[in-house]
């Protein structure tokens, strides 16, 4: 032993002290939330460049990220001297990438953004020069956070009813179901008379179930929050009747409570006729066309959701944001403006299959001529989106659990909703 014990103890103590100092520094320095800025603080206003210049960096996910670099060549040609640098990223890592970029202050100029109100502080407000008046109101609400428009709707995802016409005919249905009673009757008939294993595919409590069941709640007149968005309103008569209706499918054995939730399984069950009816977005058309080809196109149809008190669908999709930390914001807004024009959106539909958020783009022959799109166009007029608040993620997960308890745990709807309301109150509205 060259070093005596006392010296060791001192060294040890100083290491501990250093560690403690780091901890204390992290825990205490600059602690305390700043008072909410409130309305008094002047919003930095954004402007749109007359002509885009310089380099614009953009992040986009999945299919869009792959197709955009080619698509924006037109924009580059219209604005000489601009280069748009699109970085494609996988959906799975998008959230993390945004989080890291925002924390590090190393953001792109603009990005494709699927809602994500959690990052609202990093988004620049949308300038007045970008016109969203021609866009579907449900879609615009997905970009409105705390009453301010922070995201410009780009493409929409809206739900409609898909069913197999060949099997429906066998079951004695030559017209689409118009009401909830008819929908359930038709599902039961498909099962009994057309040999389907299950009548319809419905959410049974796995991730995303609450969101997938929202069309039922909205169609029976429910609202997620009260008018001034100060409280969740989940334990209501309207929610109860929607969830009772959902639960009845499982009680009667028309829907499978343990269906495989992988997207590929939904397509497979639809095409084999095992589950010949489901509620889904426009992307399913693409998946069906890819797997079944032309021949299958005549074997199914898409129709608006059967009405309860109304036929109100769910609308989502992706928006465009420009970050506060953007290096070339004015030109980035110019690109957003271009992407949200009707003719650009119609052209983008032909390239990607993404449905336009702007109503006038739907007049394009390419969209009008596709018979499977009419139902989506119809639903978009009235479709709603959940409020863009950070806490909806948690409330939605609690809702998933509530549905699972109703469907698989045999919990009475009233009990499940009372508990859900209590959880939502605890989670809060911000």
């Amino acid at each position: 032993m060259q070093v005596n014990r006392k010296e060791l103890a001192v060294r040890y103590r100083s290491t501990v002290a250093a560690l403690a100092a780091i901890v204390a520094a992290t825990a205490l320095t600059g602690c305390g939330r700043a008072e909410e800025a409130g309305g008094g603080q002047a919003q930095p206003s954004s402007t749109v460049a007359a002509k885009a210049t310089g380099k614009i960096t953009m992040w986009a996910m999945g299919n869009e990220g792959e197709l955009l670099p080619e698509f924006v060549k037109k924009f580059e040609a219209d604005n000489p001297g601009v280069t748009v640098d699109v970085t494609a990223m996988p959906w799975d890592s998008a959230y993390q990438k945004f989080q890291t970029a925002i924390a590090a202050g190393n953001v792109p100029d603009l990005a494709m953004m699927p809602g994500l109100p959690v990052f609202k502080d990093a988004f620049a407000p949308v300038p007045d020069a970008i016109d969203t008046s021609g866009m579907y109101p449900g879609s615009v609400s997905t970009g409105t956070i705390d009453g301010k428009l922070l995201e410009v709707p780009w493409y929409v995802d809206v739900r409609a009813l898909y069913y197999r016409t060949d099997l429906a005919e066998k079951a004695g249905w030559d017209k689409p179901p118009a009401t909830w009673e008819e929908l359930q009757q038709m599902a039961a008939d498909l099962q009994k008379k057309a040999g389907a294993k299950w009548g319809i595919r419905l959410p049974a409590g796995t991730t995303g179930s609450f969101q997938s069941a929202l069309w039922m709640a909205w169609s029976s007149g429910a609202e997620l929050m009260n008018a001034d968005r100060s409280a969740w309103t989940l334990d209501t008569q309207e929610f109860a009747s929607a969830f009772e209706y959902l639960a009845s499918y499982f009680e009667k054995g028309i829907a499978d409570p343990n269906a495989d939730t992988a997207p590929a399984a939904a397509v497979k069950d639809f095409m084999t006729g095992a589950t010949p009816m489901l509620v889904a977005g426009p992307f399913l058309r693409g998946a069906i066309a890819q797997a079944g080809g032309e021949k299958f196109a005549s074997m199914y149809t898409t129709v608006p959701l059967p009405a309860g008190k109304s036929s109100t669908s769910f609308v989502g999709g992706a928006n465009l944001v420009v970050f506060k930390g953007a290096k070339n914001p004015d030109s980035a807004w110019k690109l957003v403006q271009w992407l949200s024009q009707a003719d650009t959106q119609a052209a983008w539909y032909k390239v990607s299959g993404d449905l336009p958020s702007i109503e006038s783009a739907w007049k394009d022959p390419a969209l009008v001529s596709d018979p499977t799109l009419a139902a989506f166009a119809e639903q978009l007029k009235t479709a709603k989106a959940p409020p863009q608040v950070v806490s909806f993620d948690k409330v939605g997960a609690a809702g998933d659990a509530a549905i699972e308890q109703i469907v698989k745990g045999g919990k009475p709807v009233s009990d499940a909703l009372r508990q859900l309301q209590k959880q939502a109150d605890g989670i809060g509205v911000s």
């Binding site: 992290t26 825990a27 602690c31």
Partner: protein, 308 residues
């Protein structure tokens, strides 16, 4: 000894201590690359996550992480009083209490069999039992989903003997046992290898001496082999329990914590909490788990070290 050392140090004076200081400095220089990397990528995140667990930080604060309120132990109280966490703790406890003894017993049994019983084809058996350990959990989960599906392999086999099996992964009763079975299958190989090494380190003359004294097989196992294997068993059980307490992968790929949260473990709860952006609460949950793992490890050391 300390007195004489102090005297020596005092007498040596300036030149000696000057050299020591230089040596220390050089030593630090050599270790600097590691120390810097370790400090930046390990100590800093660990220290800051401890710090964050005492605040109300959420994902909305990432731009200004120091602009949060200090809330003391509130997050810890939140986690501990959350019924979902209590459920997760119970699920994890069941997983550990059932899983560890079964894995240890199976690993030990296989190691003993390979060490003395099985003579032919020994390498093939070793590979077969160890293969699950090195296989990717994603690939494994695909296979196991087929095995455990409603009309899967297991239920087909059961049907042959006239038993109608349940829908294993969608049953609140059977989902956790199914995952325990899968975890045991995946981890037995690790313990087998460790125990095999321990067994081979036991000197043969001890066994021979016991044999000369007239001890039978069972007696030799109980009074000679197992006591000598105790340090190895300590190592094995600590390793495996650290892994089991962090039970996550199996549930993540097979059941997503369902049905009705019956396979939602503590790690899964923490993962979900991070997913919701509740960084402070998730950090608190992580440190609660850290304390539990440390406590369980200490307990095992106490229990198994007693006579060594």
């Amino acid at each position: 000894m300390r007195a004489s050392h102090d005297v020596r140090a005092r007498r040596a004076g300036g030149a000696n201590s000057e050299r020591r200081r230089r040596q220390t400095l050089i030593a630090w220089l050599f270790t600097a690359p590691f120390v810097v990397v370790f400090a930046v990528f390990m100590i800093l995140p660990i220290a800051s996550s401890i710090g964050f667990s005492f605040t109300d930080m959420t994902a909305q604060d990432i731009q200004s992480p120091f602009n949060v309120d200090f809330v003391g132990f509130e997050q810890y109280a939140n986690v501990l009083s959350d019924p979902e966490f209590q459920n997760a703790a119970w699920v994890t406890a069941l997983f550990v209490i059932v899983g560890i003894p079964v894995t240890v017993a199976l690993g030990l049994g296989l190691a003993l069999a390979l060490n003395s019983g099985i003579r032919r084809l020994r390498p093939i058996y070793r590979v077969a039992f160890y293969a699950p350990v090195v296989t990717s959990v994603v690939a494994v989960s695909v296979i196991w989903r087929y095995i455990l599906a409603r009309d899967g392999l297991l239920n087909m086999v059961l049907a042959l003997v006239g038993v109608e099996g349940p829908d294993w992964l969608n049953s609140t009763t059977w989902a956790l046992p199914s995952l325990i079975l899968m975890a045991v299958w995946r981890n037995t190989g690790t313990l087998m290898i460790i125990f095999l090494a321990g067994l081979q380190a036991i000197p043969t003359d001890v066994r021979e001496a016991a044999e000369m004294d007239g001890a039978g097989r069972w007696r030799r196992l109980r009074s000679v082999t197992l006591p000598l294997l105790r340090p190895t068993m300590l190592l094995g059980s600590v390793l495996i329990s650290v892994g089991y307490l962090q039970f996550f992968e199996e549930a993540f790929v097979m059941t997503q914590g369902g049905p009705l949260s019956s396979t939602l473990s503590m790690t899964y709860y923490t993962f979900n909490t991070f997913g919701f952006g509740d960084f402070a609460k998730a950090s608190a949950a992580s440190y609660i788990m850290f304390v539990v793992i440390a406590a369980v490890s200490i307990l095992q050391f106490r229990l198994l070290r007693r006579s060594t």
